[in-house]
Amino acid sequence: MPNRLHVAAGEIIRVAANGGIVALFLFPLLWMIAGAFKSEGDLLSPDPVWFFAPVLDHWRFIFENWAVEHHLVNSAIISAATTVATLALGFPAAYGLSRFPLWRKDAILFDILSLKMIPPIASAVPLFILARQTGLYNTLLVLILLNTAFQLPFALLVLKSFIDEIPREIDEAARIDGCGPLAVMWHAVLPLAVPGLVCCALFVFIFTWNEFLLANVMVGGEQRPLPPIVGLALTHRGILWGPALALGVVVIAPVLALSLMLSRYMARGLTFGAVKG
């Protein structure tokens, strides 16, 4: 009996300790969200203010002065279009990689992974020049086109890891029913790959939504999505803290909500299918 009590106590301590660490990691996020609702005085007080009457001043400010709703729509358009384009190009390719005996397939898979490892800044300058030459500079389209290319290697590998798990007998059965390769993919494999598509779509949407580097150099003014807008709060004369935090919350809120939906697939997504989790 004392032994069982001992075990139960140990478990409670472990859960409490790990829970405490989780809370520690969440604190910075919560602190920013709280800050976005504090009055200027509470926010800039040298002693941290824990209890406060929430105010909406900063929220009113960012919507009235910076037309945040406009840039929110830009972000949504860019992310949604990128997601659709990435899946449309990525799914057939992932299917091909999963099912057909391609020449030097392992090398191809490794090269795809290597491509994803290239820091985007390394190609930003040539792409910027290319965008200027093609007249795509300062359009939403250029961000959609570029993000699609940058997300494709990720989508290929993750989708392939899902398709690999669908038994090949499904393909066989459809083929015996007289389906050509395209029909096999569309009618037999695609319906079973829906969880993989949803997982991949959410990741691509979040990554594109978070993207700052390209958005910052490829578009300006009206065309900007949300992340570069944060720069408006960091002025030469100082930081407009309230609006900055409200903006930070606007940018991060959809990401946090979608991430919670994705938690089951996190390990797989973050290692491009290398870890099943």
């Binding site: 478990e11 859960v15 790990n18 829970g19 989780v22 990691f25 969440l26 910075p28 996020l29 602190w31 920013m32 007080s45 040298p46 941290p48 390719a93 299917y95 091909g96 099912r99 057909f100 005996p101 020449w103 392992d106 490794f110 795809i112 992974l113 290597s114 490892m117 290239i118 985007p120 800044i121 390394a122 190609s123 300058v125 040539p126 910027f128 290319l130 086109l145 570029l146 494709l152 290929l156 390769p181 979040i206 978070n210 700052f212 992340p227 944060v230 900055a244 930070g248 940018v251 946090l256 979608l258 991430s259 994705l262 996190m266 390990a267 290692t271 290398a274 870890v275 099943k276 989790g277």
Partner: protein, 285 residues
């Protein structure tokens, strides 16, 4: 047989083709453009571009700003990968010893990984602010204006954001391990430390390589959060190579120099991925 294989190849190529061509166009083209530009003296401000051979590389490698940036980047990469591995492993081990899996705790812990880097930069700019930041000890610790503390600041920010990533991958690894080796070591009277060092860690080899290499590669690309938090300052103390390239290309408009350094980074990344990774990735199949 050969014909059937060739047909499979062709059908496969038709499926893979469009995505592949697109990636080649948008991702590979810039690399060749960079390579070409790096052998010239191209500037966005000057219409005259001429071929200068390796001069741009020589200038870049010889410049003190570049060398400093390289040192800061190396220091940053080594610290964050090491710290995140140790903390992530400790946390994963601690989670694996709980009786239940607690999916809600895991999901919440992963929020920093997915969080928008620009917002992450803001969060830490707020918490480390020397006048009213909650971590500034009432204005005593000058996190962002002292050069050494500024480096520590970007490390802390990165460790906060990415330790959960290491945690998640290593936890998946720990949970996938067979139980028998640990049990038989227990029967043989091995201590918990001995089991961890001599049984668990060796079995985790592949997953540790995946976790570390992925983290290293993403860490090299770190830009947004540091750009918001310190913009490379004070006095270039946190001037990561990505910030350096961005400044050369988009502020100084020195395309040649930005391209040359991009290319050096690229080669470094490809060498590291190939050396560290190819074998372990192949093992997976």
């Amino acid at each position: 047989m050969i014909l059937a294989r060739a047909r499979g190849n062709l059908t496969g190529a038709i499926f893979v083709g469009p995505a592949f061509c697109y990636i080649l166009l948008v991702v590979i083209y810039p690399l060749f453009y960079s390579l070409w530009a790096s052998f010239t003296n191209m500037r966005l401000t000057s219409p005259l571009t001429s071929f200068v051979g390796l001069d741009t590389y020589a200038q870049a490698l010889g410049s003190e700003i570049f060398q400093d940036s390289l040192v800061v980047t190396a220091l940053f990469l080594a610290s964050v990968v090491l710290l995140e591995f140790i903390l992530g492993f400790a946390l994963a081990y601690s989670f694996s010893r709980m009786a239940k899996t607690h999916p809600a705790m895991r999901a919440l812990l992963l929020l920093p990984v997915m969080a928008t880097p620009v917002s992450v930069g803001l969060i830490w700019k707020l918490m480390l602010n020397s006048d009213f930041g909650i971590l500034a000890g009432g204005g005593v610790i000058l996190w962002l204006s002292d050069p050494q503390l500024a480096v520590l600041s970007i490390v802390i920010m990165d460790v906060w954001q990415w330790t959960p990533f290491m945690f998640l991958i290593l936890l998946a690894g720990l949970e996938g391990l067979p139980k028998e080796p640990v049990e038989s070591a227990q029967v043989d009277g091995a201590s918990r430390w001995q089991i961890l060092l001599h049984v668990t860690l060796p079995m985790m080899r592949r997953i540790i390589v995946i976790a570390v290499v992925f983290r290293l590669m993403f860490a090299i690309a770190t830009f947004d959060s540091v750009y918001v938090l310190t913009k490379g300052g004070p006095a270039r103390a946190t001037d990561l190579i990505t910030l350096f390239i961005q400044r050369e290309g988009f502020v100084n408009l020195n395309i040649a120099s930005a391209s040359a350094i991009s290319f050096l980074v690229l080669i470094a990344v490809l060498v590291v991925t190939t050396l560290l990774f190819k074998r372990d990735l192949a093992d997976a199949k």
